[in-house]
Amino acid sequence: MTCETDDLGPKAKQASRAYRRNMAIAAVVYIAVVFGAVTLIRHMPFSLPQWAVILIALTPLIPALMMMRIYLTFFRSIDELNRRMHSESWLISAAVIGLGSFTYSFLEEWAHLPRIDLVWIFPALIFAWGVAMYFVRRRYK
């Protein structure tokens, strides 16, 4: 989730720097945890019990929740217009990706279109948010 530091409000400029730094750290931790989890699950010399696999598969959730907290802290620091633009963009993104994935599931089932992994939902949400943000920002210029 990107942010333009020059037009967020003076208070938010400082918060924005902290946001970028903390998000970069959280992203590095996330990548490390995912690689660690994949290595553990796929390359263990012995097979892990199901509960252990589930536990390891859930570990990337920890840095992901860290990222969510960092974003929420940043969101609360920006001014009301920027908060509105962020919120509107999330709403559009949720509607487009939610309805899109829901509709595509019918196409997968009935028209036998290729299966799309659930792992793409979150990146799609962020991408759609970015696109929506571009148009929403233009409305208030």
Binding site: G9, E80, N82
Partner: protein, 68 residues
């Protein structure tokens, strides 16, 4: 909602960035309020009134902006 933000700002020779700094908001917010694209919240409207030393109703009116 109509407002006199641009006039009041011009009277004080403040740029949009100057006013944004005083209000602790972005310059884009000041611009959006001035052009009527965004109506500020009540707390921000009070803050604007304080910055200009005026009453809210001296700055904002509930007349609808009509496209000319």
């Amino acid at each position: 909602m109509k407002n006199r933000l641009k006039v009041l700002r011009a009277e004080r020779n403040w740029s949009q960035a100057d006013l944004a700094d005083r209000l602790e908001v972005s310059r884009q917010s000041v611009n959006a309020i001035e052009t009527g694209k965004y109506d500020p919240s009540l707390p921000l409207a009070f803050k604007i009134a304080r910055v200009f030393g005026a009453q809210i109703e001296q700055i904002f009116s509930d007349e609808v902006e009509t496209a000319s």
